[in-house]
Amino acid sequence: MRASALCPRQFWWIFLLSLVLMVGAHCLLVTTVDPRRYFSSRNSFPQLHPNSRRVKVEALARFQQAGPVTGLILGSSRSMLLSPQEFDRRTGLRFFNAGVFSGTAEDFLSLYRLARRNGNHPRVIVLGLDPAAIYEGRPEEELSANFALTAALENRAVSGWGQAWHSLILYKQMLRPQALVEVATSIAMRRHPPEPRSTFDADGRLHERKTERAIQSGEYNFRAELELSRRRMIESLQNFQGLSQRRTQLIESLMAEAAADQARVVIWIPPVHPTLLETMARSPQATTADGLARQFTIGLAERYPVQVIDLTHPSAFGGDPDRWYDSIHISPLDADKIARRLAAYGI
């Protein structure tokens, strides 16, 4: 067969059409398999990464159907074990745990604004302010992939066009090798999907099922996890450049909006395992980072009607750090102690 004619215009058309078809196929695949649950939480393919932001947005919408949320727990994974029921019992309010994995200032403000947009009026906000939440860094992709949260964060109205534009940006973001690798992995695991690492109660409380089971069966190597997390924490602080101006500003916005809404804010500084505290004390970067974060957090109490409770040392709430998951992630027992401690503070 003779080769087709060489008309530049024809060549361009076929080139562009091929490109569009391939991009379309990619988007279809990413949407169908959706290993990170960016597009929908209902999907038959295994999820590879927990998308706590989507879980919390959807759980909040369901939770408030039974009544408005009057108490909001915000924070990172270190807040996610706090039981809203513990707070309910002691305050008579209706708490929802909106903590998310690797939560940062962007998450706290967007989740608060979303709760307000949904018609809730939290009277108490319990914010676990992890110092890393105000360090310099990029927002989690999970957040930028979530239209409801980004719209709330940017104070934009939720519109069809806005949603379409957001989806377009998200699809563009997905044009990367990693997305294809994850799609292939998820398809390969479909027959034998992995057991979910964690589950959530209707009120947003996290249960680390897999870890708990490993602890109960004696398979959990606490010492190894402690050492690993300690090393990671110190490594992550090696290039510490200072607090993020953008993030501290977002926290200030949260405080100002909560004050304007007449919500009471209780900020607690999450606990750290004594081993890590010792290591941090020997590292100049860690000391600086922690000092700056602490200074900022305590300073909030001078500018806004908020209470700051420092629980850095486990003795502050009678914690048992050797039963934690690692150097910064507490056990459910200690989470309950913290809840009681915070509630006893007069919430």
């Binding site: 060489l6 060549f11 076929i14 990367r176």
Partner: protein, 454 residues
């Protein structure tokens, strides 16, 4: 603006391409490409455009003045004047602080200031463009154009403005004259193919090698294996980065009906340093040969004079890359190697070719250590680690895998311009897949070309 950015790929290039083929006249295409060049260049900093415009107008005017000068003497003065102004601008923006810093270090009492000036991107490249034009007009190798837009198009072609290849006016004069023609059969497909090949070289291989090299060089101490991994990694990174850029320029040129000269010819397969310089950054090495080495007398004045000319050319060629002693020493190192290569040419040529190629390659790699180092102490530490096998360090499989990919490519794959890319319609989806693959790696990342800093 860089070729591997969203703004270039998704907006600038499609718009300029469509507009270029929508307008028909020669003059409107010149104007369009000139405007595109200024937008592309001004994306960094619009103020740089003023300097570019000044340099372009100066050389254009000088070309006309040389042509119409009543005597050769006056022509000569016009040529010298234009080249002096061009070189003065280059010196001011690129070398003044280096010069004043060294003078102050040697004689602290000399009150030379440190200037707060930003280095205009690509100044070394377009200065060489304009100098070559003025000198060629003076030498009668090219007639000065009377069409300002044609000249501005030549200097401001966005695909070779900031990192070359260093194109001479006479090399594309013919294509510029016929710029109003319809798209050439096969050029579109070939242009796309070469552009995609260059993009893949840059974003897949060069950038991955960069992620291996840069963290290694941030370490305070290098082991033997780390030092060699960094040296070989940078050797690959520089080649794939710069030859990838040159391929993209070639491909884009074809899309706009202009044939840009090739810039690389499998340099790491060279046998001998002379051969290496016939294959590496060809547009620069031939520029240095034609406008500097030959002007200095070339090989016409005996062995000693020839060696001096060679050394001076290479030292200045090194300095062209940047205001740093590492570049000067790198240039001198290559000058020395060239002299040795010329002297021992018959000896080396008796070696088995693979051995001679390996020897050349290792010498080039050592040179790249000087080239990549931020300063001389860093170069010293890096080089000494490369020759201390007792501190072996640990093997890094990922780095080894990428080095193997790069080595296989260098040894087995010809340069993009050598490949007879099929231009039939059925290959359009293949090139589209290549572009999409490249985009996978570009998306969400920021990576500039190494040669932009020069």
């Amino acid at each position: 603006m860089v070729f591997n950015s969203d703004v270039f790929l998704l907006a600038f290039l499609p718009l300029v391409y469509l507009a270029f083929w929508a307008v028909r006249s020669k003059q409107s295409r010149y104007v369009l490409l000139t405007a595109a060049g200024y937008v592309f260049y001004g994306w960094w900093d619009w103020r740089f455009c003023l300097l570019l415009l000044f340099s372009s107008l100066l050389s254009f005017g000088a070309g006309l003045a040389i042509m119409s000068a009543p005597s050769p003497r006056q022509s000569r003065w016009w040529m010298i004047g234009a080249v002096t102004v061009d070189l003065s601008l280059l010196f001011f923006f690129k070398y003044f602080n280096f010069f004043s810093g060294n003078v102050r270090a040697a004689w602290p009492s000399v009150p030379l200031p440190v200037l707060e000036v930003a280095l205009p991107v690509g100044i070394s490249f377009y200065t060489f463009h304009t100098i070559s034009y003025v000198v060629d007009v003076y030498a009668g190798r090219v007639r000065a154009t009377r069409n300002l837009w044609e000249y501005l198009t030549y200097v401001n072609l966005f695909f070779q403005l900031v990192a070359g290849p260093i194109v001479r006016f006479r090399q594309i004069e013919d294509d510029l004259d016929h710029i109003d023609g319809p798209p050439q059969t096969g050029w579109t497909a070939r242009g796309i193919a070469i552009f995609v090949a260059g993009l893949l070289k840059k974003v897949v291989i060069a950038d991955h090698l960069g992620t291996i090299v840069d963290p290694l060089l941030k370490q305070p101490h290098l082991s033997f294996l780390d030092a060699w991994t960094a040296a070989l990694g940078y050797t690959g990174q520089l080649y794939f980065d710069f030859s990838g850029y040159s391929d993209m320029a070639l491909g884009l040129g074809l899309l706009f009906g202009l044939r840009i000269p090739r810039n690389f010819n499998s340099p790491y397969r060279a046998a001998g340093i002379q051969d290496f310089w016939h294959r590496w950054h060809i547009s620069l090495s031939t520029w240095l040969r034609d406008y500097l080495y030959i002007t200095l007398g070339g090989s016409r004045g005996g062995t000693f004079r020839t060696q001096g000319n060679l050394m001076l050319t290479m030292v200045l060629g090194g300095l062209w890359h940047g205001a740093n002693w590492t570049f000067v020493i790198w240039g001198g190192y290559h000058g020395l190697l060239l002299i040795m290569d010329r002297q021992g040419g018959s000896f080396f040529s008796n070696w088995p070719r693979p051995l001679y190629q390996l020897q050349t390659f290792i010498l080039v790699v050592i040179g790249w250590v000087l080239f990549r180092s931020d300063n001389l102490p860093m170069a010293g530490r890096w080089l000494s680690a490369m020759f201390q096998p007792d501190n072996a360090g640990s093997f890094a499989p990922r780095a080894a895998a990428w080095l193997a990919v790069a080595a296989a490519w260098v040894l087995l794959v010809p340069e993009s311009w050598e490949i007879k890319f099929p231009t039939t319609l059925r290959w359009a989806p293949v090139y589209a897949a290549g572009l999409l693959l490249a985009y996978y790696y570009i998306n969400g990342t920021e990576s500039v070309f190494l040669y932009f800093q020069f």
